[in-house]
Symmetry: C2
Subunit: 234 residues, 2 copies
DNA sequence: GCAAAAGTGTTTTGCTTACACCCATGA
DNA sequence: TCATGGGTGTAAGCAAAACACTTTTGC
């Protein structure tokens, strides 16, 4: 056979999302060496011998950001291997989507010093915001997250252990970039079996009536689904 | 740095689906050499230098099965790289889902002689039906196909250029493994804007009233969606 | 009392289901 | 004429959207 398989290095790139100040934010690393030195990029790194892809994702998340991937929602999105996508040669990238609650930023020690949360800039996205082809990777990861909010309880992964319905609504509003009716949202969420369960406790907002606190339920699929407004309008 | 990135070869594995005799079928290859000689596996092959993943998928589809990937629905599903998944060493596999109409089997020439359609065996699936980890890959690809029938016009990719509503219903029934009410299905499909458009022509079934023929519309998302019966029942 | 956020009730509208019923053909 | 699949009508039930209204806090 004349054609030999090419040898690739395989990188994991992480699109780590959270909600900060009511806005969707992504965890970025300022690159300290070429290629793309000084530019911002998704955190990531190479798969090592004997490592499964999920393991690499957890390890890189810890090394580069200080976050514990075992407690976060973490899922594979897709793989990119367009020739020339990495100036260092034949590097395939397996993209992962991670969802984190609004954590204190510390991420002490190690390489995490270069990590920071940045609001997702929908204008600059796909127009040279991030290094490599990370604009495309982030766009695909965002679309995955948006889609999964509809039929899975993924939104609770953006929240702390306990949360109010208003906080959950803020997640949907930030990720979908829409305004939702608080009254209908409340009824819809509490009507989906296994989505959220009341803890009995309450929390006082700065002003206003105290909100009941909830924790994640055990549903893995939402029924009925939380459909995006205007979803599919031609 | 003590840890070097491992070098991988990257394979594309194809889950090519069609409907044959009212049943969901997958295209399999009987392996002619070790490892897993004599066992059946998904068709596939290695990514070559300078090739994008989609290109490899199209090329392998043509070489191993005689099908033209440029005219088929073809989409990436996910990547598998669990250590030890391939006895030949560090081989990552990028799985693709392909959908074909019920084509005449010829697939003349080349390696396609070893290719054959097999009904999807849901019992043996995940219990050592296919070589490598292809049971898992096929299961994931099937789940992708099942999910996409709900919100995308993917079902038309199983049909020829023109088709009847009954044929389209047979696709949903075969992929979802359910019975659907023909009357309600007809109304639902024709009510989704851009899903199917009437050609004006008709076709006579062996017995019964002639059926109107349709072709694919230009919708990329179905609204309202074709929800799976019982979808999400706890 | 006022502002603000939480939460309930009600109406309208649209989709889904179940099923009765009619249509057009081959044998 | 009968069997068979194609296709329409209709009513019940669930879910979504819009919005009036009440509750409970901090100031």
């Amino acid at each position: 056979m004349p054609h030999q398989p090419t040898a690739f290095r395989i990188a994991i790139d992480l699109a780590v999302l959270t909600i900060r100040d009511g806005h969707l934010a992504v965890l970025l690393i300022e690159r300290g060496q070429p290629p793309f030195e000084g530019r911002v990029a998704l955190p990531g790194g190479f798969v090592r011998a004997g490592e499964d892809l999920d393991d690499t994702a957890v390890r890189e998340l810890s090394e580069e950001t200080g976050l514990d991937g075992r407690t976060l929602h973490l899922e594979q999105v897709r793989t990119y291997a367009t020739p020339g996508r990495d100036p260092r040669g034949a590097v395939a990238s397996v993209a992962y989507l991670a969802i984190a609650p609004d954590l204190p930023m510390p991420m002490a020690g190690t390489d995490a010093a270069r990590a920071r949360w940045e609001p997702v800039d929908h204008d600059r996205l796909s127009h040279g915001w991030l290094a490599f082809d990370h604009d495309i990777i982030l766009r695909d990861a965002l679309e995955r997250a948006r889609a999964k909010l509809e039929y899975s309880p993924l939104a609770t992964a953006f929240c702390a252990e306990t949360f109010t319905i208003g906080e959950l609504r803020a997640v949907y509003e930030a990720v979908w970039q829409v305004r939702l009716d608080p009254r209908n949202f409340h009824r819809k969420v509490t009507g989906v079996s296994g989505f959220v369960v009341p803890t009995g406790a309450q929390r006082n907002p700065p002003t206003g009536r105290p909100a009941a606190l909830y924790r994640r339920g055990n549903a893995t699929l939402l029924h009925p689904a939380m459909l995006r407004p205007d979803n599919g309008r031609q």
